[in-house]
Symmetry: C2
Subunit: 299 residues, 2 copies
């Protein structure tokens, strides 16, 4: 089943202890799509400026990502610039230029409005809401956000949470929005805001899934080659939703498998800058690492 | 197979956001023994002062812990006093009174010197060495330590690491001793110091086992009732060694099961002050939670 994803397409400048890259292709929707494409067709709903290099368009198309709803607007593409220090866990944002994101009005084709899987990747919650409202009858709606929106558009975000099935947050965001430090308590509080399922991403410490009837916890795939964690959370979500969109029914075992797929996809993402590794990834690479992960993380 | 454990017996005063307890029975060897006793016989090698309440002696005996080598020396029992703030992750030490620990010369009986399983719980590495050297032919020797000894007796500790099979450290200790931030790199560096197997305890984030041929990673058992984490690491080690001492052969699957047993034992420990929960624990309680843990943490 195809997935529609709305989120950002960005030009990322990233510095880590292992090197630097200038204006790489990035953004929440792109990282998500790069992982989800391994499972199913992905329709990208996003905006770029007229400065956006055409080679990036060609690249996304080569990866099989549908660009029908990628708007090319007058202005500059969204740019993010950040740095990671030794611990490689927290990004320090150096510069953000929203550019064409400021006037983004998503426009979905009739076919896209009929899709059954919708991922609202990190972007202004008012934009997420507009896309959500334009869908006819999605079967599964998941949402990701970030600290900035929790602080500055909390009301919009809370209204949106009432309408989604799954909320994907990292530990800091979950604590900030719920006011609870313990992550199970935080997840329980977030579940009361609306989403039946809450996923808390803990970076190098793995993922916790919480729902009223079911808890699931896995570690991250252990890798010693952390080069650039930018987009790891979006890559996780892409692997997770991709795997779910491929499952016949969404039961506990499908959820477990989907989380493991997400964790494995994210592990490839952090092992290189930007999309350098996930762009070359095949379904077989993912399956192989998933098998090894199962071996070293289940008892 | 019986286990000998050398470590501290302490009177702990602990304050957490959920309450306070004054001069509870604690210490690395006691927390270890309280978990390991669920699997096998445990011989406690330690010292207390002549102020040590006799009810604690009676209590340990009731729990089936062998006290042949518990010395009662002239002086005060080791006291530790600490506080945990909201995050309940890091203990702030308020006061330490070593008392009789300062002059502790462990003395093992002939029968104890023949035991096959030895756990060197957190205590001065020179004391750990003395116990290790008094053993005839232990099959498995594991060691735990702490930041203080890494900083102040690094040389003694490194010499000792050459002689042990397993080193159990928390993430901070592993980083401090190895100089590596990434935990897999840290474990690899520690393995080069001698121990074939390195276990890194990540608190609420679970445990990583590293050996040259085998990696294993599990999350912590997810609990929302964290009351007092004091002794969680020692309780983990007790469940881990206890399970191993019961296994016929120490292969990968025995190691996996042992780590899961340790994680489950530790989860009970944090749910109450001191030994309040682990003292009442039965083998069946542990087995039940282990079965549930398997269900929510394997895929």
């Amino acid at each position: 089943m195809s997935i529609a994803v709305v989120g950002t397409v960005a030009l990322d400048t990233v510095k880590t202890p292992l090197g630097k890259r200038v204006q790489m292709l990035g953004g929440s929707a792109v990282h998500f799509a790069m992982a989800a494409r391994l499972f199913t067709r992905v329709n990208l709903v996003a905006v770029v400026g007229n400065d956006f290099p055409s080679r990036h368009i060609a690249f996304l198309q080569r990866k099989g990502i549908k660009l029908t709803s990628l708007l090319i607007d007058d202005g500059k593409t969204f740019q993010w610039s950040g740095e990671y220090k030794d611990d490689l866990n927290t990004a320090i944002t150096l510069r953000t230029e929203l550019g064409v994101l400021l006037q983004f009005r998503p426009l979905l084709s009739e076919a896209e409005r009929r899709l059954k899987y919708l991922f609202l990747a990190n972007i202004d919650p008012d934009i997420q809401r507009r896309v959500l409202e334009s869908m006819y009858a999605p079967r599964l709606i998941a949402l990701d956000s970030m600290n900035y929106w929790i602080r500055h558009k909390k009301k919009s975000l809370l209204k949106l949470l009432e309408k989604v099935d799954m909320y994907v947050a990292n530990d800091q965001e979950a604590r900030l929005l719920s006011g609870e430090y313990n992550l199970i308590k935080a997840a329980r509080a977030l579940e009361r805001f609306g989403p039946a399922t809450v996923l808390i991403k803990k970076g190098e410490h793995g993922v916790l899934l919480y729902s009223k009837k079911f808890i699931f916890s896995i570690p991250a795939y252990p890798t010693d080659r952390v080069v650039d964690p930018t987009g790891a959370g979006d890559t996780f979500a892409g692997g997770f939703m991709g795997s779910l969109a491929q499952s016949k029914t969404i039961n506990n075992s499908a959820l477990k498998r989907a989380i493991a797929c997400g964790a494995v996809a994210a592990s490839f993402n952090v092992e290189a800058f930007g999309l350098e590794k996930t762009a070359r990834l095949t379904r077989l690479d993912l399956r192989r690492r998933l098998a090894y992960f199962r071996q070293i993380a289940t008892f």
